[in-house]
């Protein structure tokens, strides 16, 4: 991809350099010292060479962002790029930065750093020390998404202030892309997993299902290709027709997770969605993280996992055990938007074994034969990462004055009735 925009910048070093240049010019004219004129010429040469190098070095650059499948909130997301150089001169010290909006400070007006709650703390940045002419390299930048959801990438800014940091030529490559950020995952404690699995009856006995190799299930007529071993000779002799024995197969236990977001849903379909604060959003994310962590741990333990979400416009996922199914669950949880439907619109097809509730015990779901996990108790039932680590770290930084203080009363996420209607349609 070729660059869409270019600009020339003079950074802080450049401003200092220009000041020194002006100072040297004044000193040379004032003192008439020949060596001072020489120094002035050297500084002028530095400035000129910086301009020339900025022009030559950044020519013929092409960059493509390699598509990223997904990321996980709180974990490092590596974005990869393919960078090639067609100009005649090599380029050094290339810095590539993901950016949003337009202009030098555009990322402060748009993009995931502008969103509330913030989706990224800092722009993903990568470094290419050297790129020879006619060379292709793969560069990467890292970022740590804070929240689940779609991380929208808009453009990549490539700049180099080599050789002296005086001027910087910036080329921008527009490449809109979205990366799905899965909810933050935790490891469930043994006690929590034990409590969840004990309630599920599915795992205590063999289900009556044919096709296995365990116990006798039934007889059926002989089919061509059946093994001689499974022919029930006695019954065949009695009936005069060949009969084969059908054996049962073990069925893994299932876990149906109900994510209860009804506390943040409107009472009726036509009601407006109540405004949510950053605290509410935080509570929703914690509950979603808990559900996702539970789903992943159950998948690892061999469970068939199903998912129902109450209070959001998502279709229920029937219990199943497969990698794509787990991915589907995580993607659903990553994209879930609380409050898009009133509570109880999507009735659960099966009785949930675990209810993960966001926002305390204000919910109205029936709790018979189900374990209720509260999103607020995330830290009690997961290890080893403190559940509020990300937000806590942000608040620590706020105290240091490095970040703007998060306003917890600020409405961070709103779903209008029009949006809800569109989602339903």
């Amino acid at each position: 991809m070729k660059p869409t925009r270019t600009r020339l910048e003079v950074g802080p070093t450049g401003r200092v350099f220009l000041f020194v240049l002006a100072l040297t010019l004044g000193a040379a004219l004032f003192t008439q010292a020949n060596l001072m004129f020489m120094a002035l010429g050297l500084l002028g040469g530095l400035l000129l060479s910086s301009l020339v190098w900025a022009w030559l070095g950044m020519r013929g650059l092409e960059l493509d962002r390699l598509p990223a499948s997904h990321g996980v909130a709180g974990e490092e997301l590596v974005l990869r790029y393919r960078l090639s150089k067609a100009g005649r001169v090599p380029v050094f010290s290339l810095v590539l930065t993901e950016t949003w909006g337009k202009g030098r400070r555009g990322y402060k007006r748009a993009g995931p750093m502008k969103e509330r709650p913030q989706r990224l703390l800092e722009r993903p940045t990568g470094w290419v020390k050297h790129l020879a002419r006619d060379a292709v390299c793969q560069a990467q930048s890292s970022c740590w998404p804070i929240r689940r959801g779609q991380l929208g990438l808009q453009a990549i800014e490539l700049h180099s202030d080599f050789p002296f940091g005086v001027v910087r030529r910036v080329v921008v490559f527009e490449d809109p892309q979205e990366v799905l950020i899965l909810p933050r995952l935790y490891r469930m404690t043994r006690q929590a997993m034990g409590a969840v699995t004990r309630l599920d009856a599915g795992g205590f006995h063999q289900l009556d299902k044919e096709g296995g190799s365990e116990e006798f299930y039934c007889l059926r007529e002989y089919r061509k290709g059946d093994s001689m071993k499974i022919i029930d000779w006695k019954h065949s002799a009695k009936t005069g027709e060949l009969r084969s024995r059908q054996l049962t197969q073990p069925v893994p236990p299932s876990l149906i997770i109900m994510l209860d977001l009804s506390n943040y849903a409107p009472a009726n379909q036509d009601d407006a969605v109540p405004q949510r604060t950053a605290e509410d959003e935080y509570a929703i994310d914690r509950a979603i993280s808990l559900a996702a962590s539970l789903a992943c741990d159950a998948y690892l333990a061999g469970y068939r996992v199903g998912l129902n979400i109450d209070g959001a416009d998502t279709m229920p996922l029937r219990p199943h055990h497969s990698h794509p199914h787990r991915a589907a669950i995580l993607e659903t949880l990553a994209l879930v938007r609380a409050g898009t439907l009133p509570s109880g619109v999507h009735a659960p097809s099966e009785t949930p074994s675990v209810i993960v509730q966001a926002g305390g015990e204000r919910g109205s779901l029936r709790r018979r034969r189900a374990v209720v996990l509260l999103g607020d108790e995330l830290e009690k039932i997961t290890v080893p990462i403190a559940p509020n680590q990300i937000l806590a770290s942000r608040h620590k930084r706020d105290r240091r004055g490095e970040r703007p203080v998060l306003d917890r009363d600020e409405p961070a996420f709103e779903v209008s009735s029009q949006e809800r209607g569109a989602a339903r349609a």
Partner: protein, 798 residues
């Protein structure tokens, strides 16, 4: 950890150390250099060993406070007379403190900025004009370039790392980003640095040549002028105090260079010394035992504004002239030195100056002074007739009738600010006039007041013994010349030259010299001669300046050092003949004491260094408005002249050089032979380098460290030879095939025939990857295998 961190720290430390070294050399302070240099080296071991220790921020603040106190103390002690040196010392103390501190990017930037400031300060100091400083400056610039580039790369990585750290949660510690680098990045970096350096140098030269210059001295002159340094540095004084004790041999530090040309050809040599007139003193004060200028001089003082093309003092059209160029190096003087023959009339006809706007010229004693004295290195030219005839004072008066004349009773307000009568007074500008008396005014340079009878008797006895008249008041010029020569010869033959000033019972040192000690230094010889002349009616005065007798054969110019300061006498030969220079000091004794020459290789090296330094000063340091105009004019005319003219110029240059070098036919042949040999050597060197590079590429050794690369390229040459042999007979290794696979494929075709290839390939692997050296045994094997391969392949080809 940033991999560029250590290289940057090393480069920055070297740069700082070099800045300290250069400044101390410019200031001439070896003790300071030893102290600060030792502290800097200790700081390196202190901070770089054992986990990068360093004093804390608080300690740094205390240290900075100490540096400020040190600066205050120095200002109080020296009175801020040398502000540039103070700046250098202050930066040095701050550097030492910072060197011992825990350093981040900011501290290193501060250190580098201080170092650059130090270098700029050093360039303004008097020692900043030397060639050594110029070379140090060059090395400093190269180091600074590398430091800047490395710092840019390092800081870029650091910034990315910091941004990643701020992007990560607090419990995450992202590793330093792995630097993505393409192939041959080190090679590219070096070439880029070289190209940038070259480009910057070209820009610097262009700015240096074309930047507008002013005729006035700048602030640097005022800042760098050390108080009272004129005498202490130059060894030259505009007054003479005979009671001052021994004069010593003086410092060998060069003060000025003199180049004399006649008809465009440089003339000179050690057998042809020149005297450089500085101050002219005509009145002897017996009570202070010193020579000063009298008020008689003041009536003929003139202030002349020098034009861009110079200053014509006298019109001597048609006469052959000497064109002298004087390069003042380390001197802060009002006096402009003018060359004159050791024995002969005094006559200066033309002055070519570039920086002094107003020149003070005295028709009576021909003393030239600058009204804006400069401590900066400057160059000016003087023209004087080869054979002066007549009294040149009349020509001066004819040439300079309308200039501002100076009276004794006017007040000085500075050049260009004459009083209502258009007069200036120079008393406050360093010229010292003696007491005014009408009698002295009438008898300019004729009065001798100390033991006149005794001195006169001595002079008369000398003249009588030489067969000359004893009363010369009304004698003709030839008689006067013969008399003064006789007196000078007498002093040369019967008196001993010494740098001491021996104590004598006489109250007056001249009397003690003439009658008791009969030994003394040049000032006493000149005073004695003047006293003898005056007592027999010959007007005589003293001149101080330099004796230029050290000739640099390489550059064809005289080198004048501090130790060459000299004094001699001038005698008036009467109306129509003017003043006559005569040096009564025995030249051989002066040369022995003041012109200590080192012969052999050391002397040649010293001459070469002097020559290089002279060129450095003449082309770079003294480059001014006039030189700029000349250079730009020459370039312009050269460009507009066209290629034919270029060829002609080159031919003329060769002819000139050959005539200067006096090369005969054999010399030409030798030169051609030497040139051919040098060209062949250069071609061989380039070819060797190219072949080695190709070998490295063919053997894929370019990614290895340099020493390993070269060693392997040398040792694995046999494999390239084997490939060449195979290629000659039609077997070429594809570039994608490994040596092992290639050898195996050949062996599968014909095992017996290609067995040497397999053996050589095994040897190749042993040396290339097995860390085995190509010892004698393996060499023998290689030779045998190659011979066998050649034999088998040629046999099969037949």
């Amino acid at each position: 950890m940033n991999p560029l961190d250590y290289p940057f720290r090393r480069l920055a430390f070297l740069q700082i150390l070099l800045g300290i070294l250069a400044f101390c050399i410019a200031e001439g302070r070896p003790v300071l250099l030893a102290l600060v240099g030792a502290l800097a080296v200790i700081s390196w071991f202190y901070t770089e060993s054992g986990g990068r220790r360093g004093i804390s921020r608080q300690g740094l603040n205390f240290g900075a406070l100490g540096a400020v106190m040190l600066l205050t103390l120095e200002v109080r002690l020296t009175g801020a007379s040398q502000p540039v040196a103070l700046v250098g010392h202050f930066t040095m103390s701050l550097q030492v403190i910072l060197l011992f501190a825990q350093k981040g990017r900011r501290e290193y930037l501060q250190l580098i900025a201080l170092s650059a400031l130090q270098m700029l300060s050093g360039s303004v100091l008097p020692g900043g004009i030397t060639l050594i400083y110029g070379l140090l400056l060059l090395v400093y610039c190269i180091l600074a370039l590398l430091t800047a580039l490395t710092f840019q790369l390092k800081s870029c990585g650091d910034l990315v790392h910091e941004r990643q750290k701020s992007a990560a949660p607090l419990d995450e510690a992202p590793a330093f980003p792995e630097p993505v680098g393409g192939p041959r990045q080190r090679w590219h970096f070096r070439w880029t640095a070289a190209a940038l350096g070259l480009f910057c140098v070209v820009c610097a030269v262009l700015v240096f040549i074309a930047a507008p210059r002013s005729k006035q001295d700048g602030l640097a002159v005022a800042l760098s002028r050390p108080a009272g340094s004129a005498q202490s540095q130059a060894g030259f004084s505009s007054t003479i105090n005979l009671g001052g004790g021994a004069i010593g041999t003086g410092s060998p530090e060069p003060v000025l260079n003199l180049r004399v040309k006649r008809n465009g050809v440089t003339v000179g040599g050690e057998d042809r010394p020149w005297l450089l007139r500085g101050a002219v003193l005509d009145q002897y004060e017996a009570d202070t035992q010193s020579w000063v200028r009298s008020h008689q001089n003041a009536t003929e003082e003139r202030v002349i504004e020098a034009g861009d093309r110079g200053l014509r003092l006298a019109n001597l059209s048609g006469q052959p002239i000497y064109d002298a160029t004087i390069t003042l190096r380390r001197i802060s003087q009002q006096n402009l030195f003018v060359p004159t023959a050791v024995e002969g009339p005094v006559a200066t006809t033309y002055l070519r100056v570039s920086t002094q706007k107003h020149i003070q010229f005295n028709i009576e004693d021909q003393q030239l002074m600058s009204l804006s004295p400069s401590s900066r290195v400057q160059e000016y030219g003087v023209q004087l007739p080869v054979q002066p005839q007549g009294d040149i004072r009349e020509l001066y008066k004819a040439q300079l009738p309308d200039q501002v004349r100076v009276s004794r009773d006017t007040g000085w307000r500075g050049p260009g600010e004459a009083d209502s009568r258009g007069r200036f007074d120079f008393r406050s500008r360093g010229t010292r006039f003696g007491p005014a008396s009408e009698e002295e005014d009438e008898r300019y340079v004729r009065a001798w007041s100390v033991e006149v009878d005794r001195v006169g008797a001595m002079a008369r006895s000398i003249l009588s013994s030489a067969g000359l008249p004893t009363d010369l008041s009304n004698a003709d010029a030839a008689t006067r010349r013969a008399a003064v020569r006789a007196l000078a010869r007498y002093l040369r033959l019967n008196f001993t030259y010494t740098t001491d000033n021996p104590k004598s019972a006489a109250d007056d040192p001249v009397i003690g010299f003439l009658f008791l000690n009969r030994a003394g230094h040049c000032e006493l010889f000149a005073s004695g001669l003047a006293a003898l002349c005056r007592c027999v009616g010959l007007p005589a005065r003293l001149v101080t300046g330099f004796r230029a007798a050290e000739y640099n054969e390489i550059g064809d110019y005289y080198v004048v050092r501090q130790q060459h300061a000299h004094a001699w006498a001038e005698v008036d030969l009467g109306p129509g003949h003017g003043w006559y220079t005569i040096d009564a000091t025995p030249a051989s004794a002066v040369d022995q004491l003041h012109f200590a020459r080192s012969g052999g290789l050391l002397g040649s090296l010293r001459s070469l260094y002097d020559h290089l330094e002279f060129n450095w000063i003449a082309t770079i340091i003294t480059y001014d408005k006039r030189a700029q105009e000349e250079l730009l004019g020459a370039i312009s005319s050269f460009i507009t002249a066209g290629p034919d003219s270029w060829v002609g110029s080159a031919r003329a240059w060769v002819d000139t050089k050959s005539s200067n070098l006096e090369i005969d036919q054999v010399g030409y042949i030798m030169m051609v032979l030497i040139s051919v040999v040098l060209m062949v050597a250069l071609f061989s060197l380039i070819r060797t380098l190219i072949l080695r590079h190709r070998r490295m590429v063919a053997l894929q050794l370019t990614a290895l460290p340099r020493h390993q690369r070269r060693q392997l390229a040398r040792q694995l040459r046999f494999y390239i030879t084997m490939l060449e042999v195979l290629e000659r007979y039609g077997w070429e290794r594809p570039h994608w095939q490994s040596p092992y696979r290639f050898a195996r494929d050949l062996a599968e075709q014909d095992q017996l025939r290609f067995e040497p290839v397999v053996s050589l390939t095994e040897l190749f692997y042993e040396v290339r990857f097995g860390h085995r050296s190509l010892d004698d045994l393996r060499r023998q094997q290689v030779r045998a295998h190659l011979r066998r391969l050649e034999t088998t392949l040629s046999g099969s080809a037949d």
